[in-house]
Point group: C2
Amino acid sequence: VRARRDERAWLSHIRGLWGRAGLAPGHGDDVALLPSAPYAVTTDFLAESRDFERGWAPWEAVGYKALAVNLSDLSASGARPAFFFLTLAWAEDLPDRAVERLLEGMHALSRREGCLLAGGDLSGCRSGLCISITAVGFQEEPPLLRSGGKPGDLLFVSGHLGGPRAALSAFRAGARLRRFDLRRAAEEPAVDLLDRFFRPPSQTALGQFLARSGACTACMDLSDGLAADLPRLCEASGCGAVVDAASLPLQPGMGRDACDVALAGGEEQVLLFAVRPEAAARLGEAPAVLFPVGTLTAERGVRVRRDGRTSPLRTKGFDHFSR
Amino acid sequence: VRARRDERAWLSHIRGLWGRAGLAPGHGDDVALLPSAPYAVTTDFLAESRDFERGWAPWEAVGYKALAVNLSDLSASGARPAFFFLTLAWAEDLPDRAVERLLEGMHALSRREGCLLAGGDLSGCRSGLCISITAVGFQEEPPLLRSGGKPGDLLFVSGHLGGPRAALSAFRAGARLRRFDLRRAAEEPAVDLLDRFFRPPSQTALGQFLARSGACTACMDLSDGLAADLPRLCEASGCGAVVDAASLPLQPGMGRDACDVALAGGEEQVLLFAVRPEAAARLGEAPAVLFPVGTLTAERGVRVRRDGRTSPLRTKGFDHFSR
């Protein structure tokens, strides 16, 4: 039996099939930029049994998260959410009320972020529930890409790491999010691990701030863990990085092995970005708490500094295919 | 047990939830138009067991159709395909080779239509295969909408009706499309019913022609059958219509009850459009064979003229929910 392709291998297959001339410029960033128009576009998919299980949380939480992961991608380029297109497919065993509640969760977030529903498609499918969203944002400032980082730039993340991965383990071990208060969801950030899994903090204001600041050289949405995503930013920027293990902002309350969980992570939906050192002071006015995690280097590859010693990153990131 | 909502009821529920202020302008047309930018966007979904069954046709055909239905929507506003975003989710029992072939079919069409791959998402799902595509088109001429029709306008369709519905019945009865030649697919229109089901004719040139012509007042993609789609065009245009049963362009080779199949139809992926009668002569230069099917009327509702007598349309269209 031939080994099956993982996500990375599929992406490389697809790039090979379409070739350079068949791919839009910017392919590989969190968003695609429409030529001669101030718009960024992104698309993201959530499926039952893959991204969540029925019963983990109220359906409002699932709808909220499906839109939130898309808005997080938009924030990575500094775009402001404008429209979204919703494709929803579900099997017959899902009650109407579940779909209604899912839509209510999505609606609460779209309203808060000023993101209009622009169209979509409804369908049945053989089993489970699939949600595909394409979000379009206004790109008012020059977009932040993954590719602008330079050696010496400081690396930051915009939130604690490891929490969503820990929540995933907790859900799999039987934990349940019992309540998802729509009114509160639109106003207060999530504190509880399980709540935060479905309700990542909005990065919209931060993304726009970074795009305006002139200090940020590269930016991406951290969705597959630092260990998977930082090498992508480095590769796009043509440099390497050193991560300082002691400075990783671990989700409060996590155990001693949390550093590896923080690196492996996944589904953080916070921003990872690089900043010119001489402009770092401008970050003082950022609308989010920022954590320095390391530095871009001329030497390729990602290394981790632990107890004064630097060694190559060995932790693997989060592959949505191999769960 | 409460009756479950059909597609129409869900769309109405969604419109109610988001409300006027939460919906982008143009909601309800085949495409959404991005403000102050020459772009039209559409999204369409194909799922195994709902839109096709494994084994009906080579996987190339499935990939081809998934993109074709989106390009058909773009053509309805007169947009030229520019980019597409692909979300693909499949269960573990689907071999890698099937996904590769599906991508090859999609690639052949995207290349022919000059539509670049701009991004997407790959994922697993519990069972089957789901394909969600969002396509972005250049909208160089003022867009054709559903809403501009006036009483007296002549109605046309741009292809034979009923074929895809007949093909669906044939597939369900055991017919199989054995071959899907990628090279031929990019060059020659489909003749065979089964082939045509997966390979609708491109409407791109026609859509652009109609948008440029100044003769066309309303246009839409015919995807749920004339019986379902014409009332939508009429409602958006604030008028009614009379369809001439004898003039319906039935798929050659269909039986005597074909008129109802042609009305009920579904998945035609040809254009239905209205033309000012004094400008109808301009259609002579259209890059497609056009068939007159009726007239828009001031009196609301859709009626059918058969053997000199006119009666309200009773045929139901194609509901992707109630198959």
